[in-house]
Symmetry: C2
Subunit: 425 residues, 2 copies
């Protein structure tokens, strides 16, 4: 935690490499073999294994040793890269996300089943090198399942398994109405306004009630069973707390679903940015000749990113006002929605391990965002990733005064040891 | 024309002052009295008069001696501030707009009626000092009518009187959905998207057919008579030429009116700029917490800027999605629509003067934009301004290779002399 391994900042490139070396040394000290700091196009990846348990399963542990930038520095009570314990919590950048969690499988390592470690230094920048690395090292990484230590629990007393993540896809819309911006007096009433045309296109993507109007958008969405909805409804309702935290007048989203359902199991469409014409102080009486929007969708099983992007593109082009030129560029970044099969044996093993420590069955939770590693390991290695981490939602990950509870780490070590025993059978 | 009196560029402040001195000297040489270069908060104004014709009307000549910047310089065939005659045309910045026209009333000056001159140096930047100056010098400027030499004719052979200009009003809309941008994965489906809300608001201002949907917007619009529409329809149709010039796929605007009618006698509403969220390269998966738009309307008789601004503001607030905060700021800049009463004696005198030179009755034309001086003189001096200038639409005003026809200037001098005779009665 004293190494400022900020992956997004080129000035910290050597620090990310130093963190990789630290992790590698720690693995070697634990008796893990073939430990190597392996180069990628970006920051290095640390690999290690121990494969001397014939007939036992092989489990791959995933984690990352890079962290978010510490800004704004003046909001930290103690310096971000000088970890300090106060009241049973350790404060410092990366202690919750995830320098605490990444130690747990190393500390818990015992010679009872086959393990591989795959720790990267680019999770905080979207894991751009992980896919190519996995594709290039399929044999080295072959395993029966993966365990993702970059995860958390529901509360101090309540364990959870994060079984589902949403996928995504996105595109940019460009509207052009003339060769250049024109004078809204001299040509007003004659030349189409690109910003107005874009507003019509964007407004047509969603009803005022929040329902997405793209034809076919919801077609492949798997409806949750009555039991799944009941299980979600049984979880504590944190929506009012959330509303206050984000400073919103009201929460909003698709009608017919609870806030949690809208975030976990329903797809979304968001304008991430839009612009056209004059943005400076005062006024400028132009008719904008061009206007642009970036749009992404969050996807749920069984939506396919490429299918949704095509539906969205076709909808936009079909509804484009005839007097303007509309082009659509589908973005390169996309990921599949992720949902661990609920009968996966790893999930059952993880649940038993958590119960042995917490004394309670874990909730099944989901998250509205994407963890690139899960899709990459699914697609390129063919394995499901079981979430098994011990951070909590209030620990200021990505914010000043990040901390982790010492008690979580102690329970995490116990739980990992229990998990390894469960998996070794 | 050798003085680069570019009013928008502070580096040319002394040049604008030098142009004012040049104009003053030229007025004095013509026998005009009380000539003074008078300071304002911006560039100076040149005043002069000759008031020795008791019982005769007093006419105020308006013009401006500032010019647009000459950029892009490399597109000029000869240097912009070294006027050069080629093929009966004089090339140089300002010769069409309006250093040729401003000379005509001075050259045509004869001791036959009372005249005042009011020449400013800020027309190209929106005449910000003219209103305060006129308000502060109402007695000095008192007159029966004004003549605006900053005007033009329909073609080389066809005279015209620009009887109508549109007014304008504008506002800014600000939408907020949360305290800060949020993560479109972690909070997608929960937090309202400010850009989406703004798109709905903006789309609701106009139908897809171009008709403005603001309640009451068209209520005060004076419908043209059958005769007026017939006169407009009789003018040569330049809409296809215009479409090509602006590089548009198609012209667009309110249904039920010809392109010329949409530009001259119908009001418009244009988004001048809109923005929200991420505009950089690639993608950023945020839900924008704020989004903004600048909107202006062009107005026609008998719409009132303040009334239209209030209707627009109320419409926006009434249709604001309930989950976001919407604020509307009505802008300071506004001008009344302008239409010279068609029975104004100055208009008849101008028509007779033009016919005596061209041998044809002038067309009555309008323009979609605003000339601030006309509204200022109407509001603060209580007089109508009669357009009487000799530029033509193809003379590259505001563009490289601006020119004016020598023949236009010669006809202009004749026509101004005829006008003064007509007005002296």
């Amino acid at each position: 935690m004293r190494i400022p391994s900020v992956s997004t900042d080129p000035a910290h490139k050597a620090d990310v490499a130093a963190a990789a070396e630290w992790v590698a040394a720690r693995m070697r000290a634990a008796g893990i073999e073939h430990v190597a700091v392996m180069p990628t196009a970006g920051h290095p990846i640390v690999y290690g294994d121990w494969l001397h348990a014939p007939g036992k399963p092989t489990v791959l542990f995933y984690g990352h040793f890079d962290v978010q930038p510490p800004d704004p520095l003046d909001l930290w009570t103690s310096p971000p890269f000088e970890p300090m314990e106060r009241d049973g919590r350790i404060y410092g950048r990366g202690c919750s996300d995830m320098k605490g969690n990444l130690l747990l499988p190393i500390v818990a390592f015992e010679r009872q089943l086959n393990v591989r470690f795959l720790y990267e230094g680019e999770e905080e920048i979207g894991s751009p090198s992980l896919g190519p690395f996995v594709q290039g090292h399929r044999e080295l990484l072959a395993c029966d399942m993966a365990i993702n230590a970059d995860s958390g629990q529901f509360s101090e007393d309540q364990p959870a398994l994060l079984v589902g993540l949403r996928g995504n896809t996105g595109l940019q819309v460009d509207v052009r109405s003339a060769a250049t911006d024109t004078h809204s007096g001299l040509l007003g009433g004659l030349v189409a306004n690109a910003a107005q045309a874009l507003a019509h296109i964007l407004a047509g993507l969603k009803g005022p009630d929040g329902r997405i109007l793209v034809e076919g958008f919801y077609e492949d969405v798997r409806m949750p069973s009555r039991e799944e909805r009941a299980a979600m409804a049984a979880l504590p309702d944190d929506s009012e707390e959330l509303r206050r935290a984000v400073g919103a007048k009201a929460l909003a989203g698709e009608p017919g679903f609870t806030p949690r359902e809208r975030n976990w199991i329903r797809p979304t469409l968001d304008i991430n940015g839009m612009w056209g014409g004059y943005q400076g102080a005062g006024g400028k009486t132009v008719i904008p000749a061009e206007a642009h929007a970036k749009i992404t969708c969050r996807l749920v099983p069984d939506q396919k990113p490429a299918v949704i992007a095509a539906l969205l593109r076709d909808h936009i082009l079909r509804h484009a006002p005839p007097e303007v030129e509309v082009t659509v560029h589908v973005g390169a970044g996309r990921s599949e929605p992720y949902l661990v099969p609920l009968d996966h044996p790893g999930l059952a093993a993880a649940a038993r391990a958590l119960k042995s420590v917490y004394g309670r069955d874990p909730y099944h939770t989901r998250m509205g965002a994407t963890v690139p590693a899960t899709s990459i390991l699914r697609q390129d290695l063919g394995v499901w990733t079981i979430p098994f981490g011990f951070s909590l939602g209030d620990e200021n990950a990505h914010a000043p005064n990040e901390f982790v509870r010492v008690s979580s780490m102690l329970r995490g070590e116990q739980a990992f040891k229990a998990l390894l025993k469960e998996l070794a059978g």
